[in-house]
Amino acid sequence: MQCKSCNTELPKHAKVCPKCGAQVGKKKSDNIMVVAIVGLVMLFIAGMLPFVQNADVEMISDAYSFMNIDVPAMWYLYMLALIVAIVLVAIKNEKLSIIPTCIAGVIYVVSFLAMNFRGYTGRKSFTLHTLTDLLSNGANGESYKIGLSVFFVVIGLILAIAGCFFDILKYFKKESTVDAKYLTNSINKNIWAKIYYYRWFYVMFLPVFIMILLFNYWPMMGCRYAFTKYIIRDPYYVGLKHFHQMFTNDTFFWLAFRNTLILSIVKLILNTGAAVIISLLLNELTNMAFKKTVQTIVYLPHFMSWVVVASIFRLILSVNGSGMVNQLLTSAHLIKEPIFFLGDVKYWRGTFFFINVWKDTGWSTILFLATLSGISPDLYEAAQIDGANRWKRLLYITLPALANTIITVFILNLAKVMNLFESVFVTMNDAVLDVSNVLQTYVYRKTFGGGNSDYGYTTAVGLFKSFVGMILVLGCNYASKKVRGRGIV
């Protein structure tokens, strides 16, 4: 056998050409097996979906799944096996991932076929059904059929196993002509060697890792409550009932969703725009003392609590005697009657945006000012020699230099648009509910607004919010890759 690169005769079983160092034989793919990941995610979702669901009205009646079999630990084992499989695929040990995937499949089949299903009839009381019993006789006078979960599992299993052998990314990625081993450190042969080599760093990282697992990942298991009717001590599985209700029969959900997007996106555009303008203006200042003073003043509101900010603006915008703004407008004969800025749907959004810009713009300018200070003065000097005035210099030097930072800040903040709570919560009231209620405040009011907290339903709303957030993060990551050449996650 000869080396394809230098035509040197190669020894038997050689993996690398001894002369030129080129890799010999079939090159191992460096891509993550996306198809396998998709399959595993489908299996993960299948763990939440009903095994058996109502035959007449899809997805809205009580359903039976992992969460109401009489050995609930099976669900945890199933999820654990899938997590192991996903991790293995992620560290490119995809073939090994087939083992936990198969274990998950076995757990699923055992749970589906051999376990009894609990039908909730009251606290600590339930009736047990077998699969055949449910499918042939139904329960509570309703007939049942095989649920969505089974279809997800079948497709998921096929994709998760077959996907380990099928690298779809290679059709989309440009093949690197350089051998991977020259791109990375020589010890990066495999993940375990790498971990061993850096073992003490990993030991140092261990406390953080445990903390993240305990406080960030373990609570995610709570997302299963989105599929349950929350009864204290006995939450029982209801399938996709909450999601169905949320999308079709909820008085406030879509309104809150719309408000979240409107308030967040407009706020983001205004805040970024205002921050850029202020940064450019500050950058033009030559008196350093004045510049620093202005900078400090515009930063300060950022450090104030939203509760304090809301109280201040409530006072300033009051319709009564203490309301400075209304008094000014009235005395200037601009208005006849005081405007109820925080209690009128016509004015609430505008007021909200103004308060947000006032509070957060100063802080946002830090990043832009840092970028501006990095622009080479030579460019300005050259432009000045060429006869460019201030406006031209701003247009052709400053703004292009700032553009990348603006886009980065915009993209990073876009991923957070669903997390709108505090600023709205402290400024909203019953009179402006139609324009102010966002998803987070809606969940809060729904959970803590009455004697009975429907944690199941509000978890479903929260899960949907997280899902939209995830799409935005991935979208922004993609956009970031396109714009900056590297992702944000």
Binding site: Y76, G122, V319, A431, L433, D434, N452
Partner: protein
Amino acid sequence: MKKTIKKLTAVGLTLTSVMGLVACGSSDNGSSSNDNTDKKEITKPDKFTVMVDNTVVTETNGAQNFYDYLKSLTGLDITWVRPDHSGYYDAVANAFNSDDTMPDVVLLSSDYYALYASNGFLWNMTDAWNNSETKNSGRLIDTADNVLSALMVNGEDGTQSMYGFSPYRGNGCNTYVKKSWLEKAGIDVNKVQNEQLDFNTYYGYLKTMAASAGHYVISAPGFVSTEAPYTNYLPEFFQKASYTFYKDSTGKYVDGFSEKAMEDALQRLATAVADGVIDKESVNNSTANARDKFYSTDASSESGVFTYWAGTWAYTLKTNLENKGLNGDLIALKPIKELGAYVERIAPAWCITTAAKNPEGIFKYFIDTMLDGGDIQTAWEYGAKGTHWDTKAETVTLAKDEEGKKTKTYEEGTFHMLPSPEKPNTLMQKNHIDPILALAKFKNGTDPGDATMSDTAKTNGAFFAQNSKVATPLPMTTELAENITDINEVRKQVVADVALGKSSVADAMKHYKDTVGSKCDIVLKSLNK
């Protein structure tokens, strides 16, 4: 060898994780202790846990001394669980998730009381109460039956029983009118103080006061409050309109909000806001904002009429006004004719959970002694002897106070309050039971701390007791629990829209029916089942 150890360690860790997970998901087979034990002898409980909010003296205000003092009086070994006050009901819900964390005794407000009772978490104490020493002592106040009958709620089986006991009345709001405002507006103070006005006369007075002040008279903490009975901050305007579901004279549950009485109430509210009698910003007010406006020294934002808690608050409002240099004379308005009586909220209840191993013993030795008419009742009303109050001869010194009021000397045997451990510049006022609201008198007929209570608070407490009726509890059904938040959200929106003139009563009511009418029907169907 090394490899073997590693393998064994890995297997061990995996098994530990799996066993841990299995344990997490294991089904709960803890047996309920709510067995029928009628015939067994009632023994003193060995040790039990009590979960309570900050209505009992807090950890920073000498709670440990209170626990020790109570133990010395009752001999009970109690483990106290004191979650953060603002997250109390979250902590309660979490604790109820497992028999291991479920307390034996818990204090619950009316909403949660009905919810937990209907879910079967609370021990039925009807028989225990009927045979209790407190009930048969003859020391209960006249209105005790009304208070306790409101604690009869549906249990898991749907039958009404008593699942909790409250040692004090729930209290409620009455309307305070500043005397100085009446005088300034030229209104007959005696008439307002002594006569029962009708709405038109009352509203006429409000308009006169508004004209005199040049702005609103009432600034309420919301047009409706966030908890039952909801209409208690503007009772003269809502009158007998019911904000939520109630049982009408035919014994059938109806939606009070969709009735004509509520439409009229909303119209009165809208007119009052339009006339400048009620502050528009009430919609945006917290209770603290509304109180601040009542105390305000800025004439342009001061309010003159305020509906707020009776009893101790009458004294607090008066004192705060005087501290700000304002006239502290307040008149508690008799309920107007159309209103008939103020509404007293259902008191929070002490409940024994189904986790308690000896509920009869806990009831007899813990709950039934709260109103023993002696030392234990004193402890629940005033706290620990030597920490919060005392009777020995001593000179009590406040850390900081106005000149000349720093110290006071008491003779031996005189009951007096001591400086609060948390705020040494003020005297302790009370512990869990407000002495003015206690459900039973002391054995000798006199509250030992009577002299420490202000006359203003006592007079107003008695006034409210005479002029109020206890709210009727709403039975909890699954449908009610599922829909009430959405329904109340729209109700609040309707009230705000009408009051601020953004919508007519008819349009707002149409919106209400269109939006949550079907949900109301579902709730009514479940209530009338």
